[in-house]
């Protein structure tokens, strides 16, 4: 039997804010039936960016339901920016702690919240873009690295407790160990994976992109006899055109994705997608 705190039991037996908001400002849908837990979080956000209502529907065990319930209580009344700072540890703490094997339930809560906020802002979460490491539960390397950094994980077992990765067939265990070693040894690096909570208007976005292109990207390309031109910014899609030597370079796609996109994401918005004009 799991050792659940009174708080977990209260939220499990009398969950708050169960349901689904009609026409929500943002929706976060994470997990799946196959994985054994899933959470659909819906938020209502007013013009001042304050979360006025939050509701959840959860398929899962007691700690998944309790994590969802307490999360709704935590976010109501907060600004979107404040809510965006809630970590899985905050959720677990609000419940008076969770058994270590159940920490992934709090992570699911955090993921749903992030997804709902991203949905509200019209952003795409970067996490899903990593490479799937654990095929049983569809966990990507980016999610694993983030969990390692945020929760100071130190073993494969802990990674499984927090992300579920490795909890199925176990075939990815070696890969997890490798990611753990690499992440722990490079932990001095700043956590680049946090979404920038700042919301930008289109004009601000375009200005900032131009600025970064000019200051950070062009000099490097020009050194190789190339150049880049900004064609359009449509939502999170940044359309560019490579010029000069870059145009005919067979590595142009790599330049765009590995260099231009990476820089723009780092310095402007995490969610940007850079594409070449065809």
């Amino acid at each position: 039997m799991w050792e659940y705190t009174d708080k977990v039991q209260q939220h499990f037996l009398n969950p708050r804010n169960v349901g689904e908001i009609d026409k929500p400002s943002g929706t976060g849908d994470v997990g799946s039936l196959a994985c054994g837990d899933a959470l659909k979080l819906t938020l209502k956000i007013n013009n001042d960016d304050i979360i006025t209502e939050a509701k959840f529907k959860t398929f899962g065990c007691a700690s998944a339901i309790a994590s969802s319930s307490v999360l709704t209580e935590m976010v109501i009344g907060k600004s979107v920016e404040e809510a965006g700072k809630i970590t899985n540890q905050d959720i677990a703490n609000a419940l008076g702690g969770l058994p270590k094997e159940k920490m992934h339930c709090s992570v699911m809560g955090r993921e749903a919240l992030e997804a709902a906020i991203a949905d509200y802002r019209g952003l795409v979460l970067p996490m899903a873009e990593g490479q799937v490491v654990c095929e049983c539960f569809g966990v990507t390397d980016l999610e694993i690295i983030r969990a390692i950094k945020e929760s100071s994980l130190r073993s494969v077992e802990e990674i499984t407790n927090f992300t579920k990765a490795g909890g199925g067939c176990g075939k990815c265990e070696d890969k997890l160990r490798e990611i753990l070693q690499n992440t722990v040894s490079s932990k001095s690096e700043a956590p680049v994976l946090k979404i920038k909570p700042k919301r930008m208007t289109s004009l601000q976005k375009i200005k900032k992109i131009e600025e970064v292109l000019e200051r950070e990207i062009r000099p490097g390309l020009r050194k190789d006899g190339g150049d880049i031109e900004l064609i359009d910014v449509d939502g999170d899609f940044v359309i560019v055109s490579l010029r000069g030597a870059c145009k005919s370079c067979h590595k142009s796609q790599t330049t765009i994705k590995e260099y231009v996109e990476k820089k723009l994401r780092e310095l402007v918005l995490e969610s940007l997608i850079v594409e070449e004009e065809n």
Partner: protein, 393 residues
């Protein structure tokens, strides 16, 4: 936690059983006055040796075996490991073991270790089951090979109660000169077993599944079967299992086997009726619920029911509020992150596997308890489904 609460509705007898009051009474003297060592030369110890002998006869009687075929162990798991490893040591040149995909972890983990720890020196064939949890006998027949050291197939499945045709399987193994072991932990006391007439070489049983205490088991070794001990030490158990006997529990197990023999008819009569009443009541009253496992080739006390779109641990904790005890094959209760290997082997869809609940009854259950459970379950399932993003009811 409440202890010994009269109001507890205990329907988790495949996990463990209540120690019968008669059993407690029988074992008590060996925890108090009669503390001698059965191996001692003096009368004080010798009397204890007599009690162990009597217990051995009682166990043998329940199984249709001879007392010298009974070896006391510490648990079912020890019996399983002892039997399988004995066969492998007896035939070191044979490197193949046949088992099923739905074995208890006691056998399952041992077989996994035989593969991995030995650097795949051993090849394991795991027989498939169909959606009812039944084996394909032609697959079994084809798997039997000259290289096969032992077949280990459970008599009845702990999660679904499905009964395997071990009598027939043992006969087929014997014809090929292959040893046959069965983990009969769930079957003993519920099914009529007469080992004299069967080709089963090894059989494991566990005391706490039939109203004796935890910490005692038996390995039946058919007379004439070559045996290599697992636990070596003193000459206890005719040199088959070293270590001073767990006398009180052995006496308890003897008494429990005696009682099981007396109550076999009740298990298959009254208990079975209660189980059917429970099962029919739940399936009728809860929409989108289904039985896991073969309807008839099944233990009389077990009902494994899936409630779709809800998760087992959450169900169990709600049941716990009413002091109803059962088990689940959901991921969250299996100790891993995936649902029960038994239900997955049967191809039970994830929607149902995560929401499976095993009810296992005993002679101590009553009709009132069954009706109480049938009364409480629909509201529990409904409240959780209301919360489930997948429920479109």
């Amino acid at each position: 936690m409440t202890t010994a609460n009269e109001k507890v509705v205990y329907m988790d007898n495949n996990a463990t059983t209540r120690v019968a009051p008669e059993v407690v009474e029988a074992m008590m003297p060996y925890l108090t006055d009669s503390y001698g060592n059965p191996s001692s030369m003096h009368t004080f110890g010798g009397q204890v040796g007599d009690a162990v002998r009597t217990a051995r006869q009682k166990v043998a009687a329940l199984l249709g075996a001879e007392p010298e075929e009974i070896t006391f162990t510490s648990c079912g798991t020890e019996s399983d490991s002892t039997a399988i490893l004995s066969a492998l040591r007896t035939y070191p040149e044979k490197r193949h073991v046949i088992t099923t995909r739905v074995e208890h972890p006691a056998v399952k983990s041992l077989c996994e270790n035989l593969e991995t720890v030995t650097g795949h020196k051993y090849k394991i064939t795991r027989l498939k089951v169909d959606s009812d949890g039944m084996l394909d006998m032609s697959e079994y027949e084809e798997a039997l090979a000259d290289d096969t050291a032992i077949v280990s197939v459970m008599w009845a499945n702990n999660e679904t109660g499905v009964i395997f045709p071990v009598e027939e399987m043992a006969r087929m193994a014997r014809q090929r000169g292959i040893l046959f072991h069965t983990d009969a932990v769930q079957a003993v006391g519920k099914l009529d077993i007469n080992l004299k007439e069967l080709d089963i070489d090894f059989l494991s049983l566990s005391g706490h599944k039939l109203h004796a205490p935890k910490g005692v088991g038996v390995l039946y070794i058919k007379r004439g079967t070559v045996f290599v001990p697992f636990l070596t030490g003193g000459h206890q158990e005719s040199g088959r299992r070293g270590g001073t006997e767990n006398v009180a529990s052995i006496v308890a197990l003897g008494r429990a086997c005696e009682l099981a023999g007396e109550k076999m008819a009740e298990e298959n009569g009254r208990v079975k009726k209660l189980r059917d009443r429970l099962e029919e009541g739940l399936l009728a009253r809860v929409p989108k619920s289904m039985l896991n496992g073969h309807k008839t080739s099944r233990l009389p006390n077990t009902a494994n029911i899936s409630f779709e779109y809800v998760e087992g641990e959450a169900i169990l904790l709600h049941m716990n509020q009413h002091k109803i005890c059962a088990s689940s094959g959901s991921a969250c209760t299996s100790g891993s992150l995936e649902p029960s290997h038994v239900l997955r082997a049967m191809g039970v869809p994830f929607t149902a596997a995560h929401g499976s609940i095993r009810f296992s009854l005993s002679v101590y259950n009553t009709e009132e308890e069954v009706d109480f459970v049938v009364d409480k379950m629909p509201a529990i399932i409904e409240s959780l489904r209301k919360m489930s993003p997948f429920w479109k009811g």
